[in-house]
Amino acid sequence: MLYRESGQFKTSYAADQQLFPILQDRIGVLTLLAVALVAVPLLASDYWLTAILIPFLVFALAALGLNILTGYAGQLSLGTAAFMAVGAFAAYNFQLRIPGIPILVSFALGGLTSAAVGVLFGLPSLRIKGFYLAVATLAAQFFIPWLLVKVSWFSNNSSSGVITAQPVEILGFVFDTPVRKYLFVLVVVAVMALAAKNMVRSAIGRAWMAVRDMDVAAEVIGIRIMQTKLIAFAVSSFYCGVAGALYAYAYLGSVEPDGFNLDLSFRILFMIIIGGVGSIMGSFLGAAFITLLPIFLDIVLTDGAIWLGLNLPSGTTSMAQLVVFGALIIFFLIVEPLGLARLWQIAKEKLRLWPFPH
């Protein structure tokens, strides 16, 4: 009754090909953006902004990047965190070494650097696939943080490679408070998510999906495998690189190479598995889930222990987190391999028929 496309006639190609063809979807997205832009900054506390919303958005962007590569182009990567590190350190160095460069330009350059590195490590994908490729990306995951620590030029000779992000300033406006940082991240992420949404339905997006579903068949119908795969690596690494720069500049403020470890890569992989492989929205759902779950678990375990009068040894929460993450991954792969995004899709189908399901 509320959500259906009947009666929405498309009279032009532009109307037919718009990003969200259903009116209710458009209203929904605009409302969401309005809430995120206006209501959240007014209502949310600093804790919510700095500890939940900003990391959520940053991780969502990284998950989006990985989803482009793994979900759309079908190339599994375990090196997401390394590409984030490249983005963060490259942005830092551009900002440091080129006087007067606008912050957004150095972010973009950081993303491009990351894209170049991504293409380099994506080269083996031309000959191998599946978990062979996962091992190749592991090489990036171990090599890049090592290099960033060892070559102190990257961190401007600071000890153990820690970098402290410069203040984010655009046209004289400094993004320093949590609210401002949040808005900055939100705008960057929203723009890049819309771009991704557009990209995956364009020619290159369709080529990615063809390669993912069966690369030999894709090649037979005339898709250039090499070009398609390398573009997927480049775009994915660009997104991860920008996410890494945001991670350093808007979320943590100062980062070290060892922070971008294998654990972070897995965390982002889990986001797309739980959120939905091959879905833009899934990246956001998964990021929200994985960001909120540890906080939720912490509260439940701590309060539960107090309530039961138990004295939990320290570290129990982080171990319980591992167990819950692992179990959830297996659960989702078995029950709903397409993740939370698929659940939302099913809900939408139901909604279209509601309240008369026949």
Binding site: Y132, V135, L138, A139, F266, V323, F325, I330, L333
Partner: protein
């Protein structure tokens, strides 16, 4: 030169230990086409359970071993029942991701049950040089490493016989070749999978004991398993022999690289570009890079099977 041989032999013996972990991967991959990322977690779990049982109940070595083996067999059966069976006929990549989840799960459970502190594991073997070799050839070779290498060799021999000569082994190879054809001729797929995961659990236990005795039983054991991945890339995923040869190559080249490469590279950079950096710690990534380069040249590995794609 003598130093070179010491490093080389040390590397080869360490390589045997990598092979031991890689064997577990190969077993499961051969029999079910699953790339078991959780092998490292199984190594960790086995070692931790072993030490935990010893500490808690004061069991001797020969008492804790069968008990831990029992735990690993139960685990193998459980994994088949809970994880693999519902995922039959899913794409390989899904199964791979499921084993990543499994790895996290096992790591969490192991530490919840037995705690997070580093444990010592004493197998009664000393990590000291063998005197007779030292006298005759003037080489330092650890007794422990040699025993570990012998155990690994023995294990490979047993597995080779098991795979090639026994009824179950033949069934395993049939399943690896073609699930559906194996089912059609009446091979019980579920049992076979449970068996192969149990055997992998056994290999994990042996690897866990040796690595645990060497480095202490701690979370870092799971990273040892990650080192087995380049070994597999080099040797080929389907080959037991490949796991051994790959392990030896990785072990030796990694140690040699760690000893010689950083100083060579630093000297070169200092001489020609006047840059001075300390490049120690190559061990952390050298094996992966070697595998990466190798993949570009020969994607199926040294002893792996060439795949032909059909539309």
């Amino acid at each position: 030169m003598q130093f070179f041989f010491e490093v080389l032999i040390g590397g080869l013996l360490a390589g045997v230990m990598y092979s031991l972990v890689a064997l577990g991967f190969v077993l499961i991959y051969k029999a079910s086409g699953v790339f078991n990322f959780a092998q490292g977690a199984m190594v960790f779990l086995a070692a931790l359970t072993f030490v935990g049982l010893q500490e808690k109940f004061g069991l001797p070595l020969w008492g804790a071993f069968p008990l831990t083996l029992g735990v690993m067999v139960l685990l193998g059966i459980g994994i088949e029942r809970v994880v693999l069976r519902p995922l039959v006929n899913q794409p390989q990549i899904t199964l791979f991701m499921a084993t990543i989840g499994l790895a996290f799960f096992l790591e969490g459970v192991a530490q919840l049950v037995w705690g997070t502190e580093v444990r010592r594991l004493d197998l009664g073997l000393q990590d000291e040089p063998i005197e007779s070799v030292m006298e005759r050839f003037n080489l330092l070779i650890s007794k422990f490493d040699l025993v570990a290498a012998l155990v690994a060799g023995l294990l490979v021999a047993v597995l080779a016989v098991f795979f090639n000569k026994t009824r179950i082994g033949r069934a395993l190879r049939a399943v690896a070749d073609d699930h559906q054809a194996a089912l059609a001729v009446g091979i019980p797929l579920k049992q076979i999978w449970a068996i192969v995961w149990s055997v992998a659990g056994f290999v994990a236990l042996v690897a866990g004991l040796l690595w645990g005795a060497r480095n202490g039983v701690q979370f870092a054991l799971t990273f040892v398993a990650l080192k087995a991945l380049p070994v597999l890339i080099l040797g080929g995923f389907e080959s037991v022999l490949g796991a051994i040869v790959g392990g030896l190559i990785i072990g030796a080249s990694e140690k040699l690289a760690e000893v010689y490469l950083p100083s060579l590279m630093s000297d070169f950079l200092l001489k020609h570009y006047d840059i001075s950096i300390n490049l120690a710690g190559i061990e952390g990534w050298f094996a992966y890079m070697l595998a990466l380069v190798f993949l570009l040249v020969r994607p199926e590995g040294l002893f792996g099977e060439r795949h032909i794609d059909r539309v």
